[in-house]
């Protein structure tokens, strides 16, 4: 009995006092359920792209959407949200990121590398003569 009393929690928080808790229990909490995770994609306005912002734990997509709204859109301007189970996402491996290494070097894909004005200018300056007749 005395031990029980000692473990009784006297809280300053009225919500906790109402719950009449005891302390000192260090047992494992067995059977904590683990929901699957959903990846959350947020669109701030119509016309913008959805961006990955994080995850929520939820038992199904309806709940995931309800939660995504409050965890990822309670401050931000928002037009739309997607959720997808993490298990449905496929990704490349960082270990293979060398497959991307030459990507930035492929200048022929870059519009800014096409500079014809110099050439036209030179052509005009030499009286528009064919190059093999200069």
């Amino acid at each position: 009995m005395a031990l029980e009393d000692k473990k009784r929690i006297e809280s300053l928080d009225p919500r906790i006092s109402r719950a009449h808790l005891s302390g000192g229990n260090h047992e494992d909490m067995t059977g904590l359920l683990h929901f699957q995770t959903y990846e959350v994609f947020h669109q701030n306005k119509r016309g913008a792209q959805h961006k990955h912002v994080g995850i929520v734990h939820a038992p199904n997509s309806d709940m995931a959407l309800l939660y995504a709204k409050e965890q990822y859109a309670r401050r931000e301007q928002t037009a739309n949200i997607w959720v997808a189970p993490s298990s449905c996402i496929s990704a490349t491996e960082y270990a293979d990121d060398d497959i991307f290494t030459t990507t930035p070097e492929k200048l022929y894909r870059n519009p800014a590398t096409y500079k014809v004005m110099d050439r036209i200018q030179a052509f005009k300056e030499r009286g528009m003569t064919p190059s093999d007749e200069v």
Partner: protein, 327 residues
Amino acid sequence: MYGNAYIDPNEKFSSEEETPELLAAFQARIDAGDKIEPQDWMPAMYRKQLIRMIEQHAHSEIIGSLPEGTWITRAPGFRRKLALMAKVQDEVGHAQLLYSAAETLGKSREDMMNDLITGKSKYSNIFNYPALTWADSAVIAWLVDAGAIVNQLANSKGSYGPYCRALERICYEESFHLKYGHDNVVHLATGTKKQREMVQAAMTRWWTPLMHFFGPSDKASVHSDTLMRWKVKMASNDAMRQQFMDMYIPKIWDLGLTLPDPLLKKNTETGLWDYTEPDWEEFKRVINGDGPCNAERLAVRRMAEENGRWVARAINNEEAEHVRPFA
């Protein structure tokens, strides 16, 4: 192919093939300022330390919502009531973000929660002290969150991608907490005699826990050197404490409030604050479970989980495929 399954909590993180080449490449990536992502190879010690650190940070958020929660049903006036609710909500949100970041490393939220409730894992010591009056909740919101910001801003420049991303969002929200807390303290300090007395008493009560907040001086060790090199630990406890004192002591004094340390002053020669070492024995006692509110904090979290159990059981989808979150 990397497996994306959760790590079995009973399995020790293997230190498989930590060859000098792999370690060097890992270090080079960090030195180059690159972030480490969950799917990357990483030393077992790096994974273990990060899980421990992010998990403790997450616990500190969820437990940290309790001292201020003490006043949630009693906040005076709409403005304070709404802001306090929003702040406590943010702290729960921070826990959610941080548990998620830790999960990318392979430990499930439930395993972390269990380790919290059973006392196997720690959280910030400061939340084991009670918020005796409304003014305590104001001092917490201002100065505990200020301390957290110093710590979190440092950590947000660390090497682990998901942790940095979570911290970026968290730091943004913390700045609301800080402003709210400061506003609250300023109102009390510039208010009636009674309000001033309340806030002065709270300030006096919280000074020692605040000095404890960043932990004792770090002892130099190979271990902590490695963590610094891996950008897991970003600043020394003393450096963070000094930064905190530099930023906030003048603001506290500015309100005509006093702090219970006669030695407190900025040393013009060293550029550092002189102070009386807080009682580190008390710190150790409290962190090991013998503080004024340790038992309550854990019992409350246990209650929340227990209350939620039938709910979770009812809506759980047993067929769901469980993988670690990606980011």
